[in-house]
């Protein structure tokens, strides 16, 4: 209900004012003395004493770390964080594996950021879908895109789109982590003993570990309850994680590998020796690569004879097509892979390329791997948020990133006048007041620590831009065009659209409810799998 003329009583100081509560975020005591009592014309110029309003799109690690740094560096900044789900934390909540609770400790820091009076969380508002991006523009001085990578790359092979026994690892991860979007994935893990994961990143290893871990080991984690039930029924005993390149080029990190190699009751197929470089080449590798290669060569100490489950890393194979059983046409039977060869000039470079391997007959070398369940895990993919083009942003579809200058300032091929000279003398053009951080900035790679560094870089760029002395800072709107209201300006539109935004206090209620549900089941938390369930807590 909008009451433009209703008398307003400030709930903090109980003073009555006839003004519409424009900036309720600010306690009167904190405001410059003149501002609250006199009607102000916000549309005049950007005033020194009014806060810098920054919208952050996305509440994952990138958004939170950027907000954290920005709030610490710019003490006039007020950050409004928009999130499409009613709950925050993005991939920290829905991507980090449930058996890695220590990685989720970053949420403590995010929670601390959210207690700042200069921070507002606005959940359950999907920008670009149910609220146009353009409705943000008049109220903000800067917008930071940190919405990550909401889709995943496809293989483009026949059979990939099958609805049974063929899954995207991203969706599977979302499913066992309780992401509402994939609540109804219902993967069938009872089709047979063999699972094949294509892709050799950490997501692939996460999927393998969840499939191979005993259900009892997962029971105390915050894994979704329905996922536990399905995993308990799983018949999968063997997981093959297949990559198109060699062990030196694999994308997973050593921690995830070590974990899988140490999983009780799970053996590991030794990797053929010829895939590794000679001792002296190995010892000359950079430290991280060397340790990873040594661990791969060492393998697992678990005895295959006594281990009920097993896994393997299969290298130099590219998937060609999926095959279904001739007897039971709805059952996946095997996957056909084509063999690859590493560039013979530099086979042990981390950036080594592969070429197709041909037999002496001239035919492509192929291999069939039995598979009853298939996962593709070849990387996440960022998408353009609908409405980006209204802000002048030309999303780079090919790289799946928002074009930026490496510091997070969004760039455009159109000359905006906000130019920066590069070390090589060429000019790039910035879109003033528009920034990006995280996976949408540099592509979907890296761990939380890399996203943190990256988000800090962007926040530092924003802070540096805001402190531009002598000339006007590059804000989103030219002086006089911004209301400077931030969320207070957007709120009326959100309410007009009939949306139900969630606040940080709302999230805390959902959080408490989830923890309570979890406590009853003896786990850390039991997530709500559906948005409606989350909102029900608040009603």
């Amino acid at each position: 209900m909008i009451l433009p003329r209703a008398p307003y009583i400030c709930s903090n100081c109980t003073a009555r004012t006839t003004r519409v509560p424009l900036r309720r975020a600010w306690r009167h005591s904190q405001l410059p003395s003149r501002s609250i009592w006199q009607p102000r014309h916000y549309s005049q110029v950007v005033q020194d004493d009014r806060p810098i309003r920054v919208a952050v799109v996305g509440s994952g690690p990138a958004g939170f770390y950027a907000a954290y740094r920005l709030l610490a560096k710019v003490d006039t900044a007020v950050v409004d964080m928009y999130e499409k789900l009613p709950v925050p934390f993005g991939l920290a909540r829905y991507g980090v594996a449930p058996d890695h609770p220590e990685v989720k400790n970053c949420e403590d820091k995010f929670t601390e950021v959210a207690t700042s009076p200069r921070f507002n969380f606005i959940g359950n508002v999907e920008l670009g879908t149910n609220l146009p991006l353009s409705s943000l523009k008049p109220h903000y001085d800067a917008i930071l895109f940190a919405y990550g990578a909401p889709k995943d790359k496809e293989l483009g092979i026949p059979g990939e789109k099958a609805t049974r026994n063929v899954y995207s690892a991203r969706e599977f991860v979302g499913w066992y982590n309780g992401l509402p979007e994939h609540r109804d994935l219902a993967p069938d893990l009872t089709a047979g003993e063999n699972a094949v994961v294509v892709g050799q990143g950490n997501v692939a290893l996460d999927v393998a570990r969840i499939l191979l871990s005993g259900v009892d080991a997962l029971r105390k984690t915050d894994i979704a309850e329905y996922a536990l039930e399905e995993l308990a029924k799983s018949k999968i005993k063997r997981v093959r994680v297949v990559g198109r390149r060699g062990p030196i080029q694999a994308a997973f990190t050593i921690k995830e590998l070590r974990e899988l190699l140490q999983l009780p009751g799970v053996s590991f197929d030794p990797i053929p020796k010829d895939l590794f470089p000679s001792e002296d080449v190995m010892s000359a590798l950079p430290r991280a690569q060397k340790r990873l290669a040594q661990l791969l060569a060492k393998g697992s100490t678990n005895d295959p004879a006594t281990s009920p489950k097993s896994w393997s890393l299969d290298f130099l194979l590219s998937p060609e097509c999926l095959h279904w059983s001739p007897v039971y046409p709805y059952r996946l039977s095997h996957v056909k892979f084509a063999r690859n060869e590493l560039d013979p000039a530099n086979p042990f470079l981390s950036s080594a390329k592969v070429t197709p391997k041909y037999l002496s007959s001239g035919k492509r070398a192929e291999v069939e791997i039995p598979a009853n369940t298939f996962f593709r895990s070849v990387g996440y993919k960022s998408l353009a948020l609908p409405g980006l083009e209204d802000l002048g942003i030309q999303f780079n579809e090919q790289r799946g990133v928002i074009p930026n200058d490496g510091f997070g300032r969004i760039t455009t091929p159109v000359n905006t006048g906000e130019n920066q000279q590069l070390p090589d003398g060429s000019l790039i053009s910035h879109l003033p007041g528009l920034y990006c951080a995280g996976w949408v900035k540099r592509g979907p790679t890296g761990v939380i620590a890399s996203t943190m560094t990256d988000a800090f870089t962007t926040a530092d760029a924003i802070a540096a831009d805001l402190k531009t002395k002598g000339e006007k800072p590059p804000l989103l709107n030219s002086p006089g065009q911004s209301t400077g209201l931030g969320w207070e300006g957007v709120r009326s539109e959100v309410e007009k659209l009939g949306l139900r935004p969630t606040s940080w206090a709302d999230w805390q209620r959902i959080d408490r409810a989830e923890r309570q549900r979890g406590e009853e089941k003896g786990k850390v938390r039991d997530k709500f799998g559906r948005v409606a369930e989350m909102l029900e807590v608040l009603s």
Binding site: P403, I448, S450
Partner: protein, 207 residues
Amino acid sequence: MSFWKEACLSLRQAVPRSRETLCRSPSKRFLSTSYAAPTSRFIGSSRVPVTVRGNILGSRSWKAPEAGCRSFSVTAGVQHGHITPPKPGEEINITFIDKDGVRVDLQVAEGDNLLDIAQANDLEMEGACGGSCACSTCHVIVEDPDLFDKMEEPSDDENDMLDLAFGLTETSRLGCQVIMSKDLDGLVVRLPTMTRNLQASDFEPKN
């Protein structure tokens, strides 16, 4: 508009609604002040002022009255700052060299780890995983190789995380895994700079 209707509307505005994000209720408002006062940061160690360090939070505070809200490091210090004050005569000297090259000399007690010490003293060190050796954000570089050799060997888990650290060196450690002991008296550690240089791959084909 009748008197009652108007009164009700006023009341409605006056009572914070559950979905009220912005108008923080009084209890919430003092959340930040319920943290320990900023001075408590120095409880755990006596800080020898070497250089006046630039306040990254800036001096022109928009909200000067509420000291507790100004700095996150204050809260971080409190959160992770479970460090014990050194007993007289048992202080261990440690020097941090921060990202700007500024040396901070501290006297700490035996048994505290470098992450806690750094956070309690408002140094710019993150501990994204809360000090559980599951990230690489508390990476430090030991300046003296001899002291590095005196330390206990890093575990496999620590080395695994260090592999992912920015600017890894031969004498890198994770702050959360280095526990202060008498042997490490005079330890000097550097916080790696995380600044990133522009790379050609950062740019689109330029127009």
